[in-house]
Amino acid sequence: MRSADRTTVPTEGLRRLADEETFGRFLARGTGPGPRAGLAPDRPGHHARRAARGGFWALGLAAWLVAALAVAAEPLPPLRWAADAEGGAPYVFRDPTAPGRHVGFEVDLAEALQEELGRRIEFVQYDFKSLVSGLKRGDFDFAMNGLEVTPDRLKAIRFSRPYYVYRLRLVVRQDEERFATLNQCKAVGGVVGTLEDTAAERLLDQLGVRKRIYDSQVEPYDDLEQRQVDAVLLDLPIADYYARQRPKLKYAEEPSARGFYAVAFRKDQEELASQFDAAIDRLWRSGRLQRIYQAWGLWNDDQQALSGAEGMADVLRESARQWTPARYLPLLLQGAWVTIEVSVLSMSVAIALGLPLALGRLFGPAPIRWLAAAYVEFFRGIPVLLLLYFLYYGLPAVSEYYGLAMDLKLAPLQAAVLGFGLNYAAYEAEIYRAGIGSIGVGQWEAAASLGMGPALAFRRIVLPQAIRVILPPMTNDFVALFKDTSIVSVIAVVELTKQYQILAKSSMKYLEIGLATAALYLVMSVPLGYLSRRLERRWGKGA
């Protein structure tokens, strides 16, 4: 009945209930035309009226039979509920004692909702970050996975009545003495880990605290213990489940920034959403919601706010208005700086590494030639995304697995620079090779006939002329790298594009901040193109 990917919460009685309710609605529709049919034959007389009424009942009976048969043969399909069970405690996660089963307070909530709605609910495993897009695409009927009600989401999503009030928890190391609050943390330049696209991330952005973005809920706390970050800010349920038991960590300031979890529907699912509203309301008033949270240790006084949790949309919209240029421009500039840092450092690595590769391929003995060619083919052939993942997440795991003495844990920026450097070195090596190859053998011979050795001839005669050929494609690569760096966000580096995404989502000012971001990119890349053309002219003189 339960598989790895789908969990159904079936109850025989419920299915019957569902059938009856649907059937009742069907019946009501079937009898709808009744009164009009009865009124129409008024003039033809009593008999006629009785006959008509008899016909009406017959019709009604037939409709009932058809409906009953139809319903019996095909009950309403179960509602498909999407959530991410990968490391998703205490919301939805795999039962540690029975890995095929899912547990969590939202699983219990789904069970309660199933009873209230009288309709089966079926679990669909879905990547947390894709929940909203999956909902829009119609991959499932609703998402319920600790989704916070936020301004940008309100635009595209019909949220149900909230079912939980969360707060954010700042967790630090036990021996932390530099700061106890987020603002103090910002003052000492601390880096705070959090999850992407959450209320916690938005709060960090609003306060301008340096942050590192993670994909799962365990890693930030692991990194906190490993001193890779200075604090972790996440929803209280997550902190309670993943951080409270760790002796090396402690809770810092009191929880702050209250917010709501609600069930997400598409805008066109108003009917279903209002059914959920009513059902959640009933669960709240009957005390069942409280019992679920108590069972999971999630109950607290904050939940009283669920009583009057209406109209919060306006509050959230108001907060979006606070995003002025003075507030987001410094953050964009920070992102731009990271983009420059990653691009310049990566390109330096690529240019430094590409030259020996090209020389090895052009002039080396057979094994070196072969190795250099293999390097180029390998790094051109694999996606840089894979490389970044491996360097950042994979290397520490590898060193741990094989018990290597050295610590292969790279900081996000190091991993990004190394990843792009290794990748682009393959391309730069080919550009060098083409450039050096374009200088004819005659130049080498002329240099040799003047008594120059190969190294001197290369350095003073061949390379300076090859640069003319090398420079334009290398500048192109640099501009491409500039844009490619936007994918380093997967290893928790927040550069310009990522910063734009975050800010636009928080503020809803997609166009305004988008133009500012584009302007920043242009300010950086246009002078680069200009510089390249100037250098080309200068070195191109003797051509």
Partner: protein, 251 residues
Amino acid sequence: MIEPLPIAVDHLTKRFGTRTVLDRVSLAIAPRQTVALVGPSGSGKSTLLRCLNGLCAFDAGQIRVGPHVLHAGDGRARRAEARRVRSMLGMIFQDFQLFGHLTALGNVIEAPRRVLGLTKDEAKRRGTELLDRVGLADRAAAYPAELSGGQKQRVAIARAMAMSPRGLLCDEITSALDPELKGEVLAVLEDLKRDGLTLVLVTHEMAFARRSADRVVVLADGAILEDGPPSVVLDHPQTTRAQRFLSRVMT
């Protein structure tokens, strides 16, 4: 006057794959002699020139240039010896091969500075002198792309002379030039000859060979057909092959 440089080629054999380009060629060139190497294309005369300063390895025989000896085969020792030979024997190419990223003066002073270790001032002083000697003092700051073919070749000669060689190898150095520009280059060569430089020229300029060469060597199919003073070789060739070739190029 320049130190004398005798050159002796002894049973030199050079093959490209299965094709024998030079077949047991022997040739002794006295110091301060000017030798014109002529012959149909593919006769091996350019290859012989390139063997003389070690740009080409060869398969058998040996070459003596002043105190240095080049042996058959390739290897670290041969390349080191070749570099020593080149310090005595400059080379000028048909297609100039000036360094495009350097000015005329830059081309001339690069090797003296980097190879001989001259200071920049010293190298510049001598470089300017040499450019003046080839009549290009006013073009010192020009890049190769801004020079005419004749000017380029004169810069190339100044560049070779900057290394103070005792001999010059000239590989068809006027072939790429318009007729009216050839004269200026050949005039520079005659000037150098007066200094006592040993000159070995691969050339098609029979008038120049007749006027300035001490000796004309006709090469065909990797072997020497004729060897003697210009008046003898050019006017009374002994072999029919040489007769045919010379009658074709001298009309």
